[in-house]
């Protein structure tokens, strides 16, 4: 019967919401600080952020040498 199905679904939803309601949460100030800190720590090693010098860029086409 569809009523039993609906009740089963509703029970599952309540169970799931109980799990989600019960988790521990940290303060947004801490979460934000940790994100900022991670970005700062890894900034200098982020090639797309700081740029890649041509000589070290494996994707940059090297100009062929011409023997005159």
């Amino acid at each position: 019967m569809s009523t039993n199905n609906n009740i089963a679904q509703a029970r599952k939803l309540v169970e799931q919401l109980r799990i989600e309601a019960g988790i521990e949460r940290i303060k947004v100030s801490k979460a934000a600080a940790d994100l900022m800190s991670y970005c700062e720590q890894h900034a200098r090693n982020d090639p797309l952020l700081v740029g890649v010098p041509t000589s070290e860029n494996p994707f940059k086409d090297k100009k062929p040498c011409i023997i005159l």
């Binding site: 009740i7 509703a10 029970r11 799931q16 309601a21 947004v28 934000a32 970005c39 890894h42 797309l48």
Partner: protein, 340 residues
């Protein structure tokens, strides 16, 4: 009161509890916290390589872990493994079904996977003895299209489907280990946490869900989007999740604070987000849109700091290589481009 009424009331109570609990820890906003941080300077990336070879729309791409190889999937019915440095095609794998929507590279580099409207995830062994690439397994159980797949290892893969579920498979036996049900709409995308213990899924019910792989449970659900979530990814330290939606915005959700921290939006952007990838440090968010562009966002300040314009059709997929050296975009214009 009937049981249905009671359950409905309890569900509403719990939802209110969650909303309250999230407010309690909201002692500031990300915007306020980064007020003193300088905006990233303008980011200008150039196309370094164009990978030509597909004959139809490209729907997905995925970088290999250790190398400069990547795999792409197109509705021309082919999976192509590319050497992005030389632009050579290492493998061109013909597919049984050309309606492919996703592809993935195993961390080991030994296998690739793909799937789509055939509702199956096909695993290909790249390192077969005779050098031929053959189908190793066909994982069939989903009752809807395969939207995304990601390997945990050579023996396990997670798939997301239009049937609203995600499945963890045992590749060896070709069977389902765990079915992750809970979404109320098509699952469109998934991403695995850096420590491989969790994964997140984005769906057409406008929510993102965080799943514990071994416990087989949904830990958290994130709402806020006003339309389908098409793309999802982890912030590099695994503590936050980024989503991209048809509502033209991307959002950053923190897992430990259990809430949205910021939205990446601009009144000038009115089309859906198709794909996204963070840069190595997490400071940049690269997102592909339906208007053929990729917008680059300062992830902390939530301002646009760059644009990648180079495709002649929708950008359907994007990925940043594991060493952060380059970004690859795939498009409906049939080309892939490598940028840095």
């Amino acid at each position: 009161m009937g049981e249905m009424e009671e359950l409905r009331k309890e569900a509403d109570n719990l939802k209110d509890q969650i909303t309250e609990a999230r407010k309690v820890v909201q002692d500031t906003t990300l915007q306020e916290a980064v007020a003193g941080t300088t905006l990233v300077g303008r980011v200008q990336l150039k196309t370094r390589k164009t990978l030509r070879g597909h004959l139809a729309k490209i729907y997905a791409m995925h970088w290999g872990t250790d190398t400069k190889l990547c795999v792409s999937a197109s509705q021309d019915g082919k999976l192509i493994v590319w050497d992005t440095l030389t632009t050579n095609k290492v493998n061109a794998i013909p597919l049984k079904s050309s309606w492919v929507m996703t592809c993935a590279y195993a961390p080991s580099g030994n296998m690739v996977a793909c799937g789509g409207l055939d509702n199956m995830c096909s695993i290909y062994n790249l390192k077969g003895k005779d050098g031929n690439v053959k189908v190793m397994r066909e994982l069939a159980a989903h009752t809807g299209y395969l939207s995304c797949c990601r390997f945990l290892s050579d023996s396990e893969i997670i798939t997301s489907s239009g049937d609203c579920t995600c499945i963890l498979w045992d590749i060896e036996t070709g069977t389902e280990k765990t079915i992750f049900a809970g979404h109320l709409g098509d699952c469109m995308s998934l991403a695995v946490s850096p420590d491989f213990k969790m994964f997140i899924s984005g769906a057409c019910d406008f929510t993102a869900k965080l799943w514990d792989i071994r416990e087989a449970t949904c830990r958290q659900t994130f709402s806020g989007h006003e339309s389908d979530i098409n793309a999802i990814g982890f912030f590099p330290n695994g503590n936050a999740v980024i989503t991209g939606s048809d509502d033209a915005t991307c959002k950053l959700y923190d897992l430990r604070a259990d809430q949205e921290l910021i939205t990446y939006q601009d009144s000038g952007i009115m089309c859906g987000v198709t794909s996204l990838a963070p840069s190595l440090s997490g400071r940049l968010l690269l997102a592909g849109y339906d208007d053929f562009n990729v917008n680059i966002w300062d992830m902390l300040k939530a301002e646009r700091v760059g644009v990648l314009a180079g495709h002649d059709n929708r950008v359907s997929c994007i990925g940043v290589s594991s060493d952060g050296m380059a970004c690859c975009t795939g498009s409906w214009d049939s080309f892939l481009k490598i940028w840095n």
